[in-house]
């Protein structure tokens, strides 16, 4: 479970996130949607423990900056940042060592195969295209078998096969009880599997909806998004 309570992130006087509170339960896929500059990536980085903020964030009951939280949290950044002088396989090894994972090889093998990186396993991070670098980020984050995962624009740069695999992985994670937050403004990419959506504007959550409620009202995600973000235009 990811529990965010009164999260505020300021840059000088500017509030990138203004008193955000929400919960993503086990086995739930939540979408952070919003136009550019809404504060989605900032919120994701705060949850990942990368930024200073006021408020409280808990990952499965642990403070998000604690080692216990880090051990079960996966993070896929918006801009992939592989180690330029490590091979694809060595990225897996590094994560396994850093997180003290055991019996990880088979899992790493599967992830690499699913992301079609098997023929690139001995390529350096710097030799890979942006899409492939993104695939490494996904493999690294999922290798630790996280109980909570944060995706920041995960579909950008991925090829159709990788998008299909990632969607399958997301469904599997939901089945395993993993809490997932996906920050995106490509709504059609998450249309088929989202459970909950938080629509952000100007650093605030303007609307929070469950899938059932939206479907019952006959709306879809895109219509809901525009009805909120273009309100008053």
């Amino acid at each position: 479970m990811i529990n965010v309570s009164h999260l505020t992130k300021k840059y000088g006087r500017f509030k990138a996130n203004d008193n955000l509170s929400f919960t993503v339960s086990d086995g739930e896929i939540a979408v952070l949607a919003g136009p550019n500059g809404a504060g989605k990536s900032t919120a994701i980085k705060c949850i990942a423990g990368l930024l200073r903020f006021s408020g409280e964030i808990e990952i499965c009951g642990h403070n998000n900056k604690s080692a216990d939280a880090k051990r079960i949290l996966g993070y896929i950044p918006e801009i992939p940042a592989p180690f330029e002088l490590l091979t694809v396989w060595e990225h897996m090894e590094f994560i396994a060592r850093a997180y003290r994972l055991e019996n990880w090889e088979e899992r790493a093998e599967k992830l690499i195969n699913r992301m079609e990186l098997d023929d690139k396993r001995n390529k350096f991070g710097k030799e890979l295209s942006k899409g492939m670098q993104q695939k490494i980020s996904i493999c690294c984050a999922l290798l630790i078998q996280p109980k909570a995962v944060l995706f920041d624009e995960p579909f950008v740069g991925l090829d159709p096969h990788a998008i299909k695999e990632l969607k399958a992985m997301l469904s599997e994670m939901r089945g395993n009880g993993t809490s997932v937050i996906i920050s995106t403004h490509m709504l059609e990419s998450v249309e088929e599997f989202w459970d909950k959506v938080f629509i952000m504007m100007n650093g605030r959550i303007e609307a929070e909806r469950d899938r059932k409620i939206v479907e019952q009202s006959g709306e879809n995600l895109e219509e809901l998004f525009f009805s909120i973000t273009e309100k008053g235009k």
Binding site: L50, A69, P77, F83, L85, W89, E93
Partner: protein, 533 residues
């Protein structure tokens, strides 16, 4: 050209406006310029004293020529590698696609580069005051020396432009040019080396060797010839080398005008890489691939193989280091340190005599080498690590992560020091405590530089302005090492007479202080890895 002038005008204007929006940055720049002005004024004030001894400017001849080569050769080599440091990513995206002459755009790129280099010349003016004191120059002489550096920047930029025009898109030509550039510093080194080997390794011979007129026969030497021609009133030198410089500048311009240029493709890839590099400099997050070429891996070389938790970062760094260089901790800084230690040691060896000879050698070399280390201690592995999210995400103690991420940067100066001082010991001899202490002191200064960097990252922030960061970082280094040096001096003076292991007596307190203060800073800054901002 109107659009280019517009960009230049707006860039300058907005830079000024931006400076006023960041008062801290403005204050730091103010301190920086004030310190330069005060250094120049103090140099001038001190130099007005009259001297009874004849001035000997031979060391200045050699040092100035070395400085000109030291600055110009890397610039020319960089220009050769595709002339690409001239352009930024925004130039590529906005100016390259605009309907403008490629030559005008190239002039713009070179001009901008030149402007940034002239800023460096201002920094050198601080050393002008020092040169006035040491070499008993007049203020006018110092101004000529600084002007010489500015002329050198202009000539080198023009030569870089010519090299780029001639080699762009021609790999073979580029290779030939590279060898020609390498030959420029090899020539004076060979002249000095041959003289020293044939006439003996004495200080007098060294001073004579570095001040030989034949050292001015290469293009970089021409600038030297004109400047020292002015200082010494040698009109023949001014005329000959002045004409050579003028003709070479005209030749560069003609090559530029008559070469058909098609360089966008060459520039694009490098501009992207430069963009990433500048971004990383701006944010303090250095990538590790800059200047790296791809390499093939053997199966046996794949895998980190050791480490768990925070240790994994250290072993990853070892693996990355192994891939950068066959000898992980040995690189150009090792060679430079060895060279400086040997030259300093041999010079002192010639000057000093008696029982204190070796201890003064180790004292002198340690002071000079530790000062020089600052210039090699730029971005270590740990700084590069901050550009990735993993170090923040790894579930381990922040202190342990910080120490493990810095471990390779800490080991490096100790390795360099061990090599340099052991070679020096083989040549000049010395007491074992002095040799060991010199290694420890040199290594401990590496720790202080890293600790100051960590502290500066903690206080100024990783995404702050780099100018502010560097000024703050340098001030911190100064503050952190002063108490250790004071303790060392106290230990030396308490002993009464100069000891035959004076280097040890002064060095040990410095080493102990440096290590304690560095560790304390690591401990205080453990929360650095709590946030990536």
């Amino acid at each position: 050209m109107g659009a280019i002038f517009y960009i230049v005008r707006k860039t300058v204007k907005n830079a000024v406006i931006d400076a006023f929006r960041h008062p801290l940055m403005l204050v730091m720049y103010g301190i920086f310029f004030l310190s330069i002005i005060s250094a120049v004024l103090m140099g001038y004030a001190n130099s007005t004293a009259t001297y009874s001894v004849e001035k000997d400017t031979r060391a200045l001849y050699g040092g100035y020529l070395a400085l000109l080569h030291f600055i110009s050769i890397p610039i020319m080599l960089k220009g050769l590698s595709s002339g690409t440091s001239f352009f930024s990513m925004s130039d590529v995206n906005n100016i390259f696609v605009a309907p403008m002459s490629e030559k005008k755009i190239l002039i713009y790129g070179v001009g901008r580069q030149l402007a940034s280099m002239l800023f460096l010349a201002i920094c050198f003016s601080a050393y002008g005051g020092m040169a006035m004191n040491i070499f008993r120059l007049t203020a006018e002489d110092a101004v000529w020396l600084i002007l010489g550096i500015i002329v050198m920047f202009i000539l080198v930029q023009m030569m870089t432009l010519m090299i780029f025009c001639l080699s762009s898109g021609h790999q073979k030509r580029a290779k030939v040019m590279k060898y020609i550039i390498y030959a420029i510093p090899v020539y004076p080194l060979a002249v000095v080396g041959i003289y020293m080997f044939t006439n003996g390794m004495t200080v007098e011979n060294l001073l004579y060797a570095v001040s030989q007129p034949m050292l001015e026969y290469s293009p970089i030497g021409w600038i030297h010839g004109v400047i020292f021609g002015i200082i010494d009133g040698n009109y023949a030198n001014i005329a000959v080398y002045g004409i050579l410089l003028f003709v070479s500048l005209i030749a560069c311009i003609l090559v530029f005008v008559y070469t058909k240029l098609d360089y966008y493709e060459d520039v694009l890839g490098q501009a992207e890489s430069n963009y990433a590099f500048r971004e990383s400099l701006r944010t303090g997050n250095m990538g590790e691939s800059f200047g790296m070429s791809s390499q093939k891996l053997k199966d046996s070389n794949i895998g980190i193989k050791k480490g768990s938790g925070a240790n994994a970062i250290f072993y990853k760094h070892l693996k990355e280091g192994e891939r950068r260089s066959r000898f992980i901790f040995l690189n150009i800084s090792t060679a430079v340190l060895l060279g400086v230690a040997l030259v300093t040691g041999l010079v002192i060896d010639q000057i000093m005599d008696g029982i204190y000879r070796t201890t003064v050698i180790y004292l002198g070399t340690t002071i000079i080498c530790s000062y020089l280390q600052f210039f090699f201690s730029a971005a270590g592995d740990w700084v590069k690590e901050l550009s990735k999210p993993y170090i923040f995400l790894i579930p381990d103690s922040p202190v342990k992560k910080l120490i493990m991420a810095s471990a390779t940067s800490i080991i490096k100066p100790f390795t360099d020091g061990t090599i340099a001082y052991l070679v020096l010991a083989l040549i000049v001899g010395g007491q074992i405590p002095d040799i060991v202490t010199s290694i420890l002191v040199y290594g401990s200064f590496g720790c202080v530089y890293i600790a100051a960097n960590v502290l500066a990252q903690r206080i100024v922030g990783m995404n702050g302005n780099r100018g502010v960061f560097i000024t703050f970082y340098m001030s911190l280094i100064f503050l952190l090492m002063i108490p250790g040096i004071m303790l060392g001096l106290m230990s030396l003076s308490n002993a009464g007479e100069l000891s035959i292991i004076a280097a040890t007596m002064m060095g040990l307190p410095v080493f102990i202080w440096n290590m304690i203060i560095s560790f304390l800073i690591f401990l205080m800054c453990r929360n650095l890895l709590n946030n990536a901002e």
